[in-house]
């Protein structure tokens, strides 16, 4: 987990790796929009399984699957459990009582802990949503060179500085996680146990102890990286090489993805018009039924 190589993109010879970064990003956008727009657990589950399948196609390594599994498990159960316990919307149905409100201590303090079915379902939907996004996000991170992302962002007219910052963030996020872990280890080696007490002063001191080395390291890294990219001619006002035009089939793929997004959005609008009692078209009953059951 703390091995940062697990986190960084590696080139490989799979369709996902070979895919043009623009198509990948378009796909990611489509998946994200659907993940946000879809409400039913069924299509979300389908989307989730599809995005997991992409990792098979990309032949993600065992370690990566391990990482993915840990994150998904934590996310899935964490969201479901917490939503199941703290769902505060109505209607809600208790399906189990973990701690009765009459239990001395915990029961009185928490007012009882129950599992709510709607919460569980809402949690499942949320977990599938974020799981899908996480899976796709990691897929992109693992299969796409940050430099290509940069190229793509610039191709799409993102301010060059912002694009650069974004990929720097992405590039160094795993490194920073790794270093945070090392810092805690190093502190233990020096005899410092951050978790031993909960006093606020100690807490702040711990914060200092963690931030000092990480930030100092970041500052040094920033200095070196900046010098390195600048001395390689990276900067404003350069006539950068543009991405080549996409080959025809890939252009079609791009158009196809956008068409899917468009169709999804249109269906959504039509359904919500009906749902909110604004407009109902009897001819579209089949579409409505499909939406009600599947989306």
């Amino acid at each position: 987990m703390y091995n940062r190589q697990v986190w960084e993109a590696t080139p490989a010879d799979t369709p996902i790796h070979k895919m043009d970064v623009r198509i990948k990003l378009a796909l990611l956008a489509a998946v994200m929009l659907f993940a946000v727009g879809l409400e039913g657990a069924r299509p979300l589950f389908f989307l989730f399984v599809c995005s997991l399948g992409m990792h098979f196609v990309a032949r993600s390594s065992v370690q990566r699957w391990q990482v993915l599994a840990v994150f998904l498990l934590v996310g899935l159960w964490g969201t479901m459990v917490s939503q199941a316990l703290f769902y505060n919307q109505e209607p809600r149905t208790m399906i189990a009582c973990l701690v009765s409100p009459t239990t001395p201590w915990i029961g009185e303090w928490t007012g009882g802990i129950f599992i709510y079915r709607e919460g569980l379902e809402h949690g499942a939907v949320q977990a599938l949503r974020s799981g899908t996004m996480l899976t796709c996000g990691l897929l992109i991170c693992w299969t796409t060179d940050p430099r290509q992302l940069l190229q793509c962002f610039l191709h799409w007219r993102m301010p060059f500085e912002v694009a650069f910052m974004v990929i720097t963030s992405l590039r160094f996020l795993p490194v920073i996680f790794e270093e945070t872990a090392v810092v805690f280890t190093a502190q233990r080696l020096r005899g410092f146990e951050p978790a031993r007490s909960l006093s606020p002063v100690r807490w702040i001191r711990t914060a200092f102890y963690v931030l000092f080395p990480i930030l100092a390291r970041s500052l040094r890294r920033a200095a070196t990286l900046a010098l390195s990219v600048e001395s390689r001619g990276f900067g404003r006002g350069n006539s950068r090489a543009n991405l080549p035009m996409l080959p025809l089939p890939q252009q079609f793929a791009c158009v196809g993805i956008f068409a899917v997004i468009l169709v999804g959005a249109t269906l959504k609008v039509i359904y919500s018009l009906q749902h909110n009692g604004v407009a109902y078209f009897p001819q579209l009953r089949g579409v409505y039924d499909f939406m009600a059951v599947w989306l």
Binding site: N3, Q5, E8, A9, T10, P11, D13, V62, Q63, D145, P146, R147, Q148, Q151, R171, E179, V182, V183, T185, A186, Q187, R188, L189, R190, G191, F192, F208, Y209, V210, F212, P213, I214, A216, R217, R220, R221, T224, L225, A226, L227, S228, V229, E230, S231, R232, G233, F234, G235, G237, N238, S239, R240, A241, P244
Partner: protein
Amino acid sequence: MGVIVDCRELSFTYQNSEAPSLQEINWQIESGDFILCTGPTGCGKSTLLKAFNGLIPHEISGTLQGSIQINGKDSLQCSVANLSRTVSLMFQNPDDQIFSTSIADEVGFALENMGMTPVEIQRRVAETLAWVGLAGREQGSVHALSGGERQRLALAAVLAIRPQVLALDEPISQMDPRGAMELLQVLRKLNEEHGITIIVVEHRLHEVMPICKSVVVMEQGRLVWQGSQRDAFCQPEAFLRLGLRIPQTVHICHRLGLAAESAAVDDAAATIRAAYPACSTVVQEPLLLQREETELAIEVKALEFQYDPAGRKVLNGIDLAIPRGQFVALMGNNGAGKSTLLHHICGLQRVRQGQVKLLGQAVKGLDRRVGMVMQNPDLMLFKSTVEQEITFGLAHGLGQGKQSGDWRELVDRIGLGGMEDRFPLALSQGQRVRVAIASLLSCQPAIMLLDEPTTGQDLGHIDDIIGLLQEYTQKGGTVILCTHDTEVAARYAERVVVMTEGKVVADASPRQVFSCDEVLRSASLRTPAALQLSRRLYGGCALGVEEVVRHVQQASMGSYAG
């Protein structure tokens, strides 16, 4: 050959600093030169390099006086991007520079910035990779590269621009000898075959000096010595005075009052033989002082480890017994498993297979009796002053009955006297390593493990550190020092353990280990030059400069006497 870099009265002061970092530099660099620029830490070497490609003053704020012309263009008038096509800069740590995941992308980055077409880029990338010895590996992952290869990739990334001048800031300081050698060979080839002017800033001049053409020494922002490689060999005083580490052959010649023609062992031997004809007399080598078998500090039995079940074994059946009070050098190339072994000993890594005992007890979790200095000491420092940093362990009950005044002596010994109130993380790298060592030593743990502490240190500071550690071993402490530096190991260690691919391939006194060429070759270590020279001169097995000098002098005296 014209002047490609021309500095006139160049002075520079950083924005937040009072003292100038460069003072009235006058330096004309001829095209096609291969220059070693050296000097003690903080002398302004790196600053000068940054001035060459316009990072100073365009990107780094400060006050610049004088002028600097690159290829006839005033650097003040040109942008960094423009200048970087003439002068390319490469840095110490490849991991902070490498940006992409595939080799071709990394090399192509600079070319894209120049606006080249993809076809051109592809061709140029292939060509550049061939230059640095990574031909045909375009599609490989940067993570699959070894440390040395990664540094060469970083080199290729700047070379792709086809700069006229290549400036390298401590390119080999963190590399193992094999990697360093390979990189330097590439540099030599670039210089010779492609006529690229090369400027290397480096502490490890004993490795760079033999291949460079001219040498520059800086001190406190000024150029204090300038000359050809030959001049440098002849006049090593300038280097020795500043605590710089010159090739041992040159050093020996110098000590014997001779002027070395080159750093090569054969040349030195010839020179010495000419002056001291009797030096070939075999003198009885002092035997290694055999220590009495005392209590074992560290006992490792059949230790095996692998990160993932399918992967290779990082540790493959390590057996090691280290008695108390021993100073052990742990050597081997990158990836031999040295750090992993240290992690097992200090309890950072749980023992899965085999056994590790400290002072007779099996290791369970992080062991407080062990002090460990990690490879990157930055991540070990977290207090806001050097004083707090060093006394932290004492304050947290790690030291056993230490006097609170002792740490001051420690600070002085590591050359940080007067810096007690400085922020440790803002110190130079060498200083940070020393603070980290001192912060652990102050608690007097039973065992000290040090992972590459000599990186980026001047010779003097290495002496300081080792001196402290030796004192510590005399008091009964045990030291394991990981290092690539055979000269350091030869000089100071009582025992050398060499690891290759997770196995211990040699475990004996330095003399025995360094006499065994196959072992060193297998571990891609270099035989110390002094040892080579002594072997050549008198079939001996000397471990340091002093030993050779003493031998030659004694033998000569003996011959005069006899």
